[in-house]
């Protein structure tokens, strides 16, 4: 029995080793944290420097007016007019409409998958949604330009509108709605799964129906995870370039409130023709990038505000 007894010296030794390994791991965590933070900071600085350069005196292709850039409603390379105002509005509206379409459907789907669907269906659905999230955006783009634009074209004809072969804001909205669906849905699934059984039981024991329980307790308890999904989804909607470029068109001015008109978002502005251009037309894309980052930051702040509103209490 006694030679099985761990001896004090060995335990002492182990304690020492654990302390050292603790220190090493902590250092590793710190390093990776600093590295990733550094990367983000570097990217932001790089874009900021390049983006701001065109507004500074002494810019080699002719200094731009920052205010005109922000509020301008025309973007034309041929006349060197670069106004990003309507583009920001387009970006906002397309992403917001896409989220408006996608968010409720995705949330209800998640609720259905976790709480209502039978086991086998649940597994199948979850797999499909994970797959959808993994499809590269160019594939969505091809689908959109092949199918969504056709649909939109017919819709336009039905309403007696003209559309550039379906290339339009509506196509962008539908495309984005589809693209952000798996992101929002899979986050919602995780959030809803994390809600403890005890809350559900508590609600049912108070004479709530299953539906009341799902909506009033489960969704409300999963709220913050579901909103995190919305933020990610919106991020994707704002940031998606490849697929959107394939169906957005290159509207030179705006904003147009007709969904069948062509549009232009910040990302398509940055992306389309980037490699065939230089000088001011090249550099100003960085300024658009800067605006895009600001838009995303502002939206996130807005969502947090909304979340706090909803999270608060609503009686009296």
């Amino acid at each position: 029995m006694n030679d099985r007894q761990p001896n004090a010296l060995m335990l002492q030794h182990n304690r020492q080793r654990r302390k050292i390994s603790d220190k090493i791991w902590r250092a590793l965590f710190l390093i990776s944290c600093v590295l990733s933070a550094l990367m983000i900071v570097l990217i932001i600085i790089f874009i900021a420097v390049k983006g701001i350069r065109v507004f500074l005196p002494g810019y080699e292709y002719g200094q731009q007016n920052f205010w005109d850039f922000l509020t301008g409603m025309t973007w034309r390379q041929d006349s060197k007019t670069y106004g990003v105002g309507f583009i920001v509005i387009n970006t906002f509206t397309t992403a917001a409409f896409a989220a408006l379409l996608s968010f409720p459907v995705a949330t209800l789907t998640a609720l259905f998958i976790v709480k209502i669907a039978p086991e086998r269906l649940r597994v199948a659905f979850t797999t499909v949604i994970e797959l959808l999230a993994a499809i590269p955006s160019v594939v969505y783009g091809v689908f959109a330009s092949g199918a969504i634009t056709k649909l939109v074209q017919q819709l336009a004809a039905f309403f007696g509108q003209t559309s550039a072969a379906g290339i339009s804001a509506l196509s962008v909205i539908l495309l984005l709605a589809i693209m952000i669906f798996p992101t929002i849905c899979s986050m919602a699934i995780v959030a809803i799964q994390a809600v403890g059984k005890s809350l559900e039981w508590g609600s049912l024991a108070l004479g709530a129906s299953q539906t009341q329980t799902n909506f009033k307790v489960v969704l409300s308890a999963a709220k913050s995870g579901i909103f995190a999904g919305l933020v990610l989804g919106l991020g994707r909607a704002f940031g998606e370039a490849t697929a959107v470029t394939m169906v957005a068109g290159n509207a030179m001015s705006g904003p147009s409130w007709n969904l069948f008109d062509t549009t232009r978002t910040l990302t398509t502005t940055m992306l389309s023709g980037m490699h065939e251009t230089s000088g001011l037309d090249y550099d100003i894309r960085f300024s658009a990038g800067l605006v895009l980052m600001a838009v995303i930051l502002l939206t996130n702040a807005l969502i947090h505000l909304i979340k706090r509103k909803i999270g608060g209490v609503d009686h009296e």
Binding site: L199, W201, G202, S203, A205, L206, G207, S220, V313
Partner: protein, 315 residues
């Protein structure tokens, strides 16, 4: 056992306390009495009785031994495993009935039969009957959702919803479609008062309930159940996660509550069972070994196994 002596004193005081409570005299429903209710903060409840469907709760009377539940030859199986074996017992109305027994003997399982929470578990099979007001709980005339408004439940772990204190207490009523804010506010207030929580939270009803302490959360869960004016409150080890002071508060509470509600409580504490209950059922391996007045049970149990368990010579 001095616990019992303690209890006897409490009991002897009860009738007096009851007599002094206008609440209990159905004849005193005059305007004057109603005013007195209001000033005591229990007016809304009286009103609730007339407002909420008349059948929901009979006017509280003096404690009688009318049966609340009659369990008749109940067997319950979790797939193949038989968790309850031939249970026969009668839970009296307006009394505190305690379930005691070693872990895994089926106390929670039987408790969950009274509000049919077992329906939520897959692979549960039940035969036998439980009568409530002479009607089979599992019969086709019984609506589960309605049953659960009549038979409230408080769980072992406090489980407040992640919403405000107010919304937690109003939850059950709102689920019944009651929207009248003034009425809701009154019921929330009286329920919190009855659960002995009101004074601690009256200025922060908007606060998120998950920020309360464990003991406060548990009292909130009791308030939440009371708000529905149930006939019965089932409690599954309601104080096992609480400190002695919070436990004491909840025990005192139960003594008050039994005037209006029938209480069935599962507990692992012999002292608690002795302190608060009128009847005790001793469970062992899915069977009820003994079911009797608590005083009798603790003073001269008729079964050797009960005696062993109560005196701590048992698992």
């Amino acid at each position: 056992m001095n616990l019992l002596a303690d209890k006897k004193i409490k009991r002897s005081q009860e009738p007096m306390a009851s007599a002094a409570t206008p609440d209990l005299d159905p004849g005193s429903q005059t305007a004057e009495a109603a005013d007195r209710y209001m000033s005591r903060g229990s007016g809304p409840v009286a009103r609730a009785r007339t407002q909420v469907a008349a059948g929901l709760k009979p006017a509280a009377g003096l404690p009688d031994l009318k049966p609340m539940f009659e369990v008749q030859d109940l067997n319950l199986y979790y797939s193949k495993f038989q968790a309850l074996k031939h249970i026969n017992l009668t839970i009296p109305a307006h009394q505190v009935t305690a379930f005691i027994g070693p872990s895994g003997c089926g106390k929670s399982t039987l408790l969950r039969c009274f509000n049919r929470m077992n329906d939520l578990l897959e692979e549960v099979r039940i035969d036998g009957r439980i009568l409530m007001d002479g009607r089979d709980l599992r019969g086709p005339q019984t609506d589960v959702v309605e049953l659960r408004t009549k038979v409230g439940m408080v769980f072992q772990q406090p489980n407040p919803f992640p919403m405000s204190i107010f919304d937690n207490v109003a939850y059950g009523l709102r689920c019944q479609g009651i929207k009248d804010r003034v009425y809701l506010r009154q019921v929330v207030e009286t329920s919190l008062k009855k659960a002995a929580l009101y004074d601690e939270v009256k200025d922060e009803l908007d606060k998120n309930a998950t920020k309360l302490s464990g003991g406060q959360q548990q009292r909130l869960c009791i308030a939440r159940a009371i708000a529905l004016q149930p006939q019965v409150i089932l409690m599954d080890e309601p104080t096992s996660a609480l400190d002695p002071i919070a436990t004491l508060k909840i025990e005192e509470l139960m003594n008050d509550l039994k005037k209006e509600y029938t209480i069935v409580i599962v507990t692992h504490s012999m002292q608690q069972a002795a302190r608060i209950s009128d009847k005790t059922a001793f469970f062992l391996l899915g069977e009820v070994v003994e079911f009797d007045d608590t005083v009798t049970m603790f003073n001269n149990p008729s079964d050797k196994r009960t005696e062993d368990y109560i005196s701590g010579r048992f698992g």
